[in-house]
Subunit: 342 residues, 4 copies
């Protein structure tokens, strides 16, 4: 395979591709070929090139991983699919939903794997969260609250929503699909440093189940917080990604209303509220590097001829929310329904 892009994320893909036994990394491609050489270091047998065409023409390359700017994802990925290569794309899938749909269709037509690098979905924490949700341990979903803030790299060309929220939205998609999806989204943003785009933003999501999800992303916070609370009727789980010794805390605590229909109307409110205050369990999690597991899934999807766990459709769903959020920002925070054209 080949990795394209030797900037911020590319070196991680290089390192993990090399560590995946079923993959054979042949090329690191970058328009700045010196940068590619620096990434590989002085001891590597992997080749470098600035020619994307050289990679597409190499019959020994079955797959390419794109870690290039978002605007280039569509043309590069489409060319790779056209050349019969499987494609892994860094988030976001493309810059526009329409382009994304074309890619998904192209991959399906050609029977090729198109995978989105939704890295967080391959952490053992998110794997366990998905199990908790899907096996009913949380009960009905009551709410989701996600916070992802720190003194971040202020991006020159995208706002904080397009930079950070794909993480939260891809995790949410992974946890809830296919049973539950986002129906509409309202977004509020602010640019206090005069950067030209929102540097902090809030998303409110109406889910198809009736529950509400909320996302807070912020480039300007001096403290780093990465927390997601998933409230359920049976249990509520708190994911603190910055606490390696206790990433997940599953609380048997909550508020319940019971049997209110059997009571006279006047008594309902006070009588029927009850509180559960049970134990908290922090499940043991395997240590694993998420990117390693993601790369293994890419290899497995190729060899088994099946869609990857975070395939192009998952990428499309995330982009759909981001595009609707962008519209909501322009409409002063009004809810924007997904799948409805402007």
């Amino acid at each position: 395979m080949a990795v394209v892009g030797a900037g911020y994320w590319g070196p991680n893909l290089v390192r993990n591709a090399m560590a995946t036994p079923s993959l054979r990394l042949r090329w690191l491609c970058d328009m700045d070929v010196e940068r590619a050489r620096r990434v590989l270091g002085d001891y590597s047998t992997v080749g470098t090139t600035k020619s994307f065409d050289e990679i597409l023409g190499d019959p020994d390359v079955q797959a390419v991983a794109l870690a290039t700017p978002a605007a280039t994802h569509f043309p590069l990925a489409m060319a790779a699919l056209d050349a019969g290569k499987h494609v892994l794309v860094e988030k976001p899938l493309t810059s526009s939903l329409d382009d994304g749909k074309k890619l998904v269709q192209a991959a399906e037509d050609r029977g090729l794997v198109l995978m989105c690098d939704h890295t967080y979905c391959y952490t053992s924490a998110v794997q366990e969260l998905r199990r908790l949700v899907h096996e009913g341990e949380l009960g009905d979903l009551h709410f989701v609250d996600s916070v992802r803030i720190n003194l971040g790299l202020v991006q020159p060309d995208v706002d904080v929503l397009w930079d950070l929220a794909p993480h939260d939205l891809s995790i949410l998609d992974y946890l809830l699909s296919p049973e539950v999806w986002v129906e509409s989204v309202a977004a509020h943003g602010s640019d206090p440093i005069g950067h030209g785009v929102a540097c902090l933003a809030y998303l409110t999501l109406k889910l198809s189940s009736g529950a509400m999800a909320h996302v807070h992303v912020n480039w300007l916070s001096p403290v780093k917080i990465r927390t997601m609370v998933i409230g359920g009727s049976h249990r509520t789980v708190v994911w603190d990604d910055l606490n390696p010794s206790q990433r997940l805390s599953v609380y048997d605590r909550g508020v319940e209303r019971k049997g209110s229909q059997e009571l006279p109307a006047d008594d309902r409110k006070q009588v029927t509220i009850s509180y559960r205050t049970g134990d908290m369990v922090a499940p043991a999690l395997r240590e694993q590097e998420a990117l390693r597991a993601m790369m293994a899934e890419f290899a497995a999807a190729i060899s088994e001829g099946r869609p990857a766990a975070t395939d192009g459709s998952a990428g499309l769903r995330v982009m759909g929310v981001l595009e609707a959020a962008a519209r909501s920002l322009r409409r002063d925070g009004a809810f924007v329904a997904l799948g409805v054209d402007e």
Copy 2:
């Protein structure tokens, strides 16, 4: 003075009134006089009564503190003012903004103290926060983010906004007024347990300075979080009220844009972003019970014939935001300007 209401909050007022040297507590009044007696215990010389009129008729009572349900605040406070008593009212001031305005006017006409029990404003943390904001140590205000969530007492008659957000809004008012005020508010709420009112809610506030503030209140969270981040152009402070050994952390960290006007347009974005990554200082704070300091301020305002620090006007401003938030909730989260009738 007299305390009215022996329920959840009344005992705290009783205890602190007794501990304030310049006050003399004569009565604890409650319609359930047995409950009042239980609050006082078996060793107290304070009198109990179920008659509010008895208190109003007692010439030795100069002041009353109301810890009764919100709906009773207006009639009880107005009667007390009419009887020439100074009045301390638990938040919220009244159930409606109009009633609140009448109270403020009545107190002003009679030259009496009307004070709101915005307890948090009297913590040493908020006192220090106010100093940091007003002495310019934070620089220009960039954003405020407040979270107040825990497994709370689900209220039968008010939603989570009216129950918890008065704390955040009164603190915000205390920190920012009179220079900055709330111009409009958008509110999103959810009631996943079918309780009839919102059990979790988010407020987005547009401030007159152009900055944005955000409040998250939630009765259903199994973990308790009480955090406020106040971002500024010079420094950013994080207040964690549940970390007694380090409530305030003042970070000399941030993102800055400098001199962009002197650069050619193409170079602006990337060149002008710079990062400060300086030390963090956790200022030493006096240990003080907020309610004790609040009660002392009530006594001082009476004896000095001046408005209290959190006077009726502060209560009105908080209620104005709450009423606008309630309208926004009914309008699916649209921004509602303050001071504009429906």
Copy 3:
């Protein structure tokens, strides 16, 4: 009953005695009767006196609680027992082990309750710890490590061991007795500020089960830590008393050696070590004020005519360790066996 001593601890006893329905507080006694009056405040019906004899002569006083300097515990408690009163004594029981033994004997002879105020034993955390130990959930005891450090009130007349370690030792006694006891102790201390007595100290305790316990007490630490780790063959529990939302964490993690006797000698070491890395459970604990529960136990022991849970014998055992530790300090940290005269 009567409380004697209106200094640091007395007011807590007063408050909790008044809140205990089965007790009737008649007197607060202090040689500085003004101080006693200030403690009671302006609204109390409890009497004050500077005469201990007046209390002993009051036939309505059945019990006295002593919160006076340690040197006075023996004469005051003995006089009270002689007058037929039940006695509660703040830790340490007396200044010398011999005096303590006399008190225990006197109480037994007269059929009176002699109780030590080992407050921590009445927290719900320690109650749960005792349950975990005694019901075998931890398995065999492997080790105990206790840390109690903060910027403390440097005492003029006792060292940090006599000031702070009684807490750790009384908890240890409560958790382990009667099955396991302290056999010998080694103590290291240091006085870096030239105060005349040790301001920080370490105790190493050999337990009768073969396990080792260790205590670190320190008046000079700017950070406050109150942690106890109790390691067992099945589970290990960490008690962090300063984390109210998760005081106890019970870990199903550990190191085990299995079946080594069945293996050839050469293979033993590496083959037989195995690691358990199971879940962590933080049990839900009742909220209760420890001093309230302690006072209720005092009242119950009196009315039921039985020894209190932390009776004079428990106090004697704690003092035995403290005296041995003092000898070890003088002998440069050599182990000193308990129950052996110098």
Copy 4:
């Protein structure tokens, strides 16, 4: 250069040697050459060999880094020095102090660099700690307390002191030398799992300045703690290595005795104690990989012909304490002076 040993630590040396521009890694040597190949992976130009002699005979190899079992350090290092190679040795320097002395002498005689891999000394936290100590910001040293516990890899051939305490002791040496050194040590250990060697241990160190230091190491703790408190007369610093956002906290808090000599004897104790309760500062630290900085120091020491910051002498001092501690363990915790033969 060459790295010898492809086990637990060797891969880290390989990775950092490759990333150091002034070094050129030629060989990874291991008796299990397949293991060496696996460490390098499928894309490396670095050579593998099982022959240590081949490395010594390679004139292009100027330096070797040893990551082999402790028992092999002496013969391998001596052979390398004899062959004129500079040597970097994983801790501990050797298995016996005598062997260590011979190595140091041999390196000095030949004018070669002999460096100990005291990795922690190259973290930015320890660099800042050293600055705080040496520039007098802490004042006189009052005490040091170090805790390093977690569910560790129980070693088959060394006890927990030899496995973990070298970290604490090398840091202590780095912070205090040359002005202050360890005079004597007392050690207590316990082996509750019947492993044959101590699995948890405590060291008490008497320093030449009169202050006391204490180290707690433990393989059996389910929670991981890595904390060092360095108390001084002016300030006290807490290093929490597991809190990446606030590794160092410098407290302007403490207890002081002042002017006691001017007071009458009776008044001294109570009058002269005063408390400082100032701010806490968490200094900003550079992000750096310690092992990278250590490798750069090795390269710099070679090229500049000077001893490395953690040279063989530092390794000898650490071993001296470990050997004395081992004797103390055998003598039931009695203090053992350093530099005195058994």
